[in-house]
Symmetry: C2
Subunit: 248 residues, 2 copies
């Protein structure tokens, strides 16, 4: 899959090497965790992106947007890139034995193991993050340790063949980092210009470091229920993995 950047004067081969990208989907995922990276990764030479679920039947994201799988866990085989989005549905996905078995097997064979947002907790639940530096949504960052990972609160974290992105919109930064890793900086710059990625957030409120403490506290209170459920699940799964962070 990997193709190093070609010298300027060498023509691109007409048919680039195929790159099979498996994006796992599940009910109540956060769709932008998936669609941001999709927009970037699908523009790589040779990219063949599939959305994977148990069956070929529509899956609704947390806000009700419908996605249609193009492949199933049982028939897809091994991807070049494994990708997992996050969202409220991660709580169920972490505990879905068949989904986790696919993620483990696909992740062991893939060239790159990747996620955005709380998707990293699914990678962790499959035992793929033991001893690895990884990131996730700010509201879940401590929970990575329960699954044996080293929580690293950065926007995009690369550790060997593992690439994880922080919350939701980090998927665009994540995607460009993957493109640069596989195809070089010039291809990443090209895709960045195609998608006019010149962000101008209207406020400085996008991270726990910049938002007001009151706002951070309010959002933490509002998601306290699901955060606690996910923590308990991560702790239980971490114990079965023998993850040191889960020890009492």
């Amino acid at each position: 899959m990997r193709r190093d950047a070609l010298p300027e004067n060498m023509p691109m081969p007409e048919t680039p090497a195929p790159c099979r990208i498996a994006m796992v989907i599940f009910p109540r995922m956060t769709q932008l965790d998936l669609t941001g990276p999709f927009e970037v990764l699908a523009r790589m030479p040779g990219a063949k992106v599939d959305l994977l679920w148990h069956h070929i039947e529509p899956v609704k994201d947390a806000q009700g947007l419908t996605f249609t799988p193009t492949a199933t866990f049982s028939t897809y085989g091994t991807p070049d890139i494994l990708f997992i989005p996050g969202g409220p549905g991660v709580l169920e996905a972490m505990q879905d034995e068949y989904l986790i078995a696919f993620v483990r097997s696909a992740g062991e064979g893939a060239s790159l193991v990747t996620s955005v947002c709380t998707g990293s907790l699914v990678l962790g639940a499959a035992g793929l993050l033991k001893g690895k530096r990884a990131t996730t949504h700010w509201g879940a960052i401590e929970q990575l340790a329960l699954l044996g990972a080293i929580p690293t609160p950065e926007r995009v974290v690369v550790d060997g063949n593992t690439v994880t992105g922080a919350g939701v919109t980090s998927g665009i930064d994540f995607g460009l980092a993957v493109v640069a890793k596989l195809h070089g900086e010039e291809k990443a710059r090209e895709i960045q210009l195609q998608i006019e990625y010149d962000p101008h957030p209207p406020y400085d409120s996008g991270s726990v470091r910049s938002a007001s403490p009151e706002l951070v506290a309010r959002l933490k209170r509002r998601s306290a229920g699901i955060t606690e459920q996910r923590r308990a699940a991560a702790e239980r799964i971490g114990r079965t993995l023998g993850a040191p962070g889960s020890a009492r």
Copy 2:
């Protein structure tokens, strides 16, 4: 639909006023033009987002991602917010008489008329941008004049009840601007933190002002065919609208 920001100590009503958001979809749209704004707008209080197409049948974006409409042009009625994404398929959408008739009618009744990327050319083709400041993808900015708009190469442009975003990823900035307009700055800051919108582009290559002239020229060459087709269509449609920019 519009609810001004409530005083800090006033409880939010339990059932927020509904806000019907009509997002037009079409084959070969660029899905992130749609999914970025969807993620932000669907989090507004009372948001009821529909994807609209001629029929309830799957529509594939330019990279093959499938979307399922939830409503049709003939039965939806008038939205509170009309939204149009862009993408290569804009060339056909601009010339789709039934789609354009819906956009014109919905836009005349909507509280907000909006687009991201080349979606503004669809608004323009429906006669909704005459004399209005508007933006679009950098590769199409001059073509807005052919449809009677005032090309304004900024990330998000607000002119009265018209809000347009530039290329693809601008949809997130656009979405937050719409939230701020309808629900105030604090709600926009809250959604910004939920989606961890603290962008860190790996390169400074996201606009024609920052990318290298060689890269801009290469991308312009590569899209010259579709750019010329779209220009010719805009010029022809502009003449039927009596748009001054289309005069020879």
